[in-house]
């Protein structure tokens, strides 16, 4: 017995060391990925955003004026970005919540089928999906005809090439990102909690307000973030379904980077977009409860 006991420590020590190292080892691939493809480009982005000069000879020059361009030249697009993203997120939430609720609570044996149907559009390329909305919202299309007939649209009113079309496109493209997290959080709610609420004199409406909805909040927070963040930076929907008037900040960045080759301003705009998004999200996540997000 004692011999074994005396021999044990070195092995045990090795085992403890290994146990301590394993988590870091697991972090390594993701960590390297983040450093190579996120931290380094980010620092590069910040340094480029402070360069000045004429393509292709940009020099680092503490050129803060690049940042001023957002306000002086692209204020409209920035506002479009925020307004469209906000509207699209709100509308997507209004559509996704009942949808997720229905699938989770009433789906029964159709649950998996309904989830597949929800994801089905993703089998079609993003561009094609968005382009098909051109047909749906076309001036001689069914939707416009109906809206004109009931006088929700004027005689020559149109949807395509308006903010409505851009928001509709964004809502459509991000709907699944909103629905799935909400579905997951609703799905895992123990049904007996709702029964317990009913048992304690809560009508179905009150039970939803006091129990079901609060418990699904992590899904709502995740869904709105997964929709809002990419929507703010989106430019495809504005290009395909809108006109330059509906252009968002993403369109400006895209053209500065790839068309005008004005890297410093493009970088400054990108960095600003990121900061603004983070600043908007922090209070939101705080108000919605960070505890819920991790719990």
């Amino acid at each position: 017995m004692s011999a074994v006991a005396r021999e044990a420590p070195p092995t045990a020590r090795r085992a403890t060391w290994r146990r301590k190292l394993v988590p870091y080892g697991l972090l390594l691939p993701g960590g390297v990925w983040l450093i190579v493809f996120y931290v380094v480009p980010m620092l590069r982005l910040v340094s480029v955003s402070l360069q000045s000069g004429i393509f292709p000879r940009y020099r680092f020059a503490w050129a803060w004026s690049n940042y001023a361009e957002l306000v002086t030249n692209y204020g409209g697009q920035a506002v479009n970005s925020l307004v469209y993203a906000f509207l699209a997120t709100a509308i997507a939430l209004l559509i996704a919540y009942p949808l997720a609720y229905f699938i989770a609570f009433r789906g029964g044996r159709w649950k998996n089928f309904l989830l597949v149907m929800l994801l089905m559009p993703f089998l079609m390329p993003f561009l094609l999906r968005t382009l098909s909305w051109k047909i749906i919202l076309a001036d001689n299309g069914l939707v416009v005809d109906v809206l004109r007939a009931v006088h929700l649209l004027g005689e020559d009113g149109r949807l395509l090439a308006t903010g409505v079309a851009v928001v509709a496109g964004i809502v459509y493209n991000f709907l699944a990102f909103m629905t799935l997290p909400i579905y997951v959080s609703l799905e895992k709610i123990d049904r007996s909690l709702v029964e317990a609420a009913n048992d304690l004199y809560a009508s179905p409406t009150v039970a939803f307000r006091k129990v079901t909805f609060p418990l699904s909040r992590p899904g709502v927070v995740a869904g709105t973030l997964l929709t809002f963040i990419p929507a703010v930076g989106d430019y495809v929907n504005a290009v395909l379904l809108g006109t330059p008037q509906q252009f968002m900040i993403g369109n400006v960045i895209q053209s500065r980077f790839l068309v005008v080759l004005d890297y410093p301003v493009a970088a400054a705009l990108s960095f600003t977009l990121m900061i603004v998004t983070v600043l908007l999200i922090i209070p939101y996540v705080r108000a919605a409860g960070t505890e819920d997000l991790v719990a």
Binding site: S192, N198, D199, A202, V211
Partner: protein, 370 residues
């Protein structure tokens, strides 16, 4: 809601109606009949247990009383009032759920206060009553904690407090101790009984644990295949189970086929002609073939040569296992395959496999089952 609250005090005669009354209640799920034409009446202030194996319909019965399942047919009355079609949130009953179903996003205080808040009780009163209730279940000081920080037994007590604070007419408990370990379960059994005495509310307790039911309940209904097989006090059911199922479910029994020889004297004969005696009032009227039973702990073993009174069967010990509080014997007799005997280790004489013995018991310990 107001109408429900008024009933207890306002209407004459309500005090005399039973707390819960089921009249021919049936519940079918598709082709499956979960609860089959049950009628029962539970008096005020009782600790009533619905006991049975899983799938016997006990939980479904409880859920119908709580309003979580609709009845297929039949009437449910609470204190005389027909509540058959009424939603759970309009019934003055509360439930302690099997999984406790505590709201994970609310503190202990808010969990317990939930029912009072829904009924717009004044905040000051809520604070006072929650305090009292947490004291009753010995959880004072845990108000601001979340349910997940509590142990299973503590969560169980929160669930109890959350239901009891509403002063329901009837408290429904759905296998409330099922998730607890044995020691805690024993403690909670006594605790539940104490609380029931203290609050004086009718408890309907669903369980598959016979010992739990016998420890706590003053009336037990044994359910089997959607029906109530036997109802009575623990002693009544145990001493005279009346059906083979109850005899086997509640404790162990030796059952044997017999023929009635003299119904007036209570004399029956086993297959080999061995005569046994039974209390005559337990014999069914007119029946010729009966099944009789005797509990293993009612049987004493004695050596073959000693003269014995009462019912006696001769046999040979085939197995003897000493388990501390008692010794379990298996006796091979001619009359029935094997007889289980549980002997308290009071006498010096122990028997070993191979010994010839006689198994002796008193006629009044013999029961008849159908």
């Amino acid at each position: 809601m107001a109408a429900v609250t008024d009933v207890g005090s306002g209407l004459p005669g309500v005090g005399e109606s039973p707390a819960v009354q089921l009249e021919s209640v049936t519940k079918r799920f598709g082709d499956f009949t979960a609860v089959d034409d049950i009628s029962l009446s539970i008096e005020e202030n009782r600790f009533f247990a619905l006991l049975g194996p899983s799938g016997c319909g006990k939980t479904t019965t409880l859920r119908m009383i709580g309003g979580f399942e609709e009845t297929t047919s039949g009437i449910i009355r609470l204190h005389g009032e027909d509540v058959t079609g009424r939603k759970p949130y309009r019934r003055m009953v509360n439930t302690v759920f099997q999984s406790y179903a505590l709201f994970p996003h609310l503190t202990i205080f808010e969990n317990v206060a939930f029912g009072l808040r829904r009924r717009d009780v004044a905040p000051a009163e809520i604070k006072q009553r929650v305090g009292e209730m947490l004291e009753l279940v010995q959880l004072t000081g845990r108000e601001s904690q979340k349910p997940r920080t509590l142990s299973g037994g503590q969560q169980q007590r929160v669930a109890l407090a959350r239901a009891l604070i509403n002063q329901p007419r009837v408290l429904l408990l759905d296998e409330p101790l099922g998730a607890l370990d044995l020691k805690l379960r024993k403690e909670m059994q006594i605790e539940l009984k104490r609380i029931q005495n203290e609050v004086g509310i009718t408890f309907i307790h669903v369980t598959h644990d016979q010992e739990e039911a016998m420890t706590m309940a003053d009336t037990i209904a044994v359910m089997h295949q959607g029906r109530i097989e036997r109802m009575g006090t623990a002693t009544e059911i145990y001493e005279d189970p009346r059906t083979g199922f109850v005899a086997g479910f509640l404790g162990a029994s030796n059952l044997m086929h017999a023929e009635v020889v003299d119904a007036f004297a209570g004399e029956v004969a086993l297959a080999q002609g061995v005569r046994l005696r039974v209390s005559p009032d337990r014999l069914p009227a007119g029946g010729k073939q009966v099944r009789l039973g005797v509990r293993p702990e009612k049987i004493r073993l004695a050596s073959v040569d000693s003269p014995m009174e009462g019912n006696a069967l001769e046999g040979r010990v085939v197995d003897a296992s000493f388990i501390g509080v008692s010794t379990h014997y298996l006796i091979e007799t001619g009359a029935l395959a094997q007889l289980a005997v549980m002997a308290q280790n009071l006498e010096d004489r122990r028997f070993a496999p191979g010994d010839r013995v006689q198994a002796v018991w008193r006629p009044e310990h013999t029961f008849i089952v159908t």
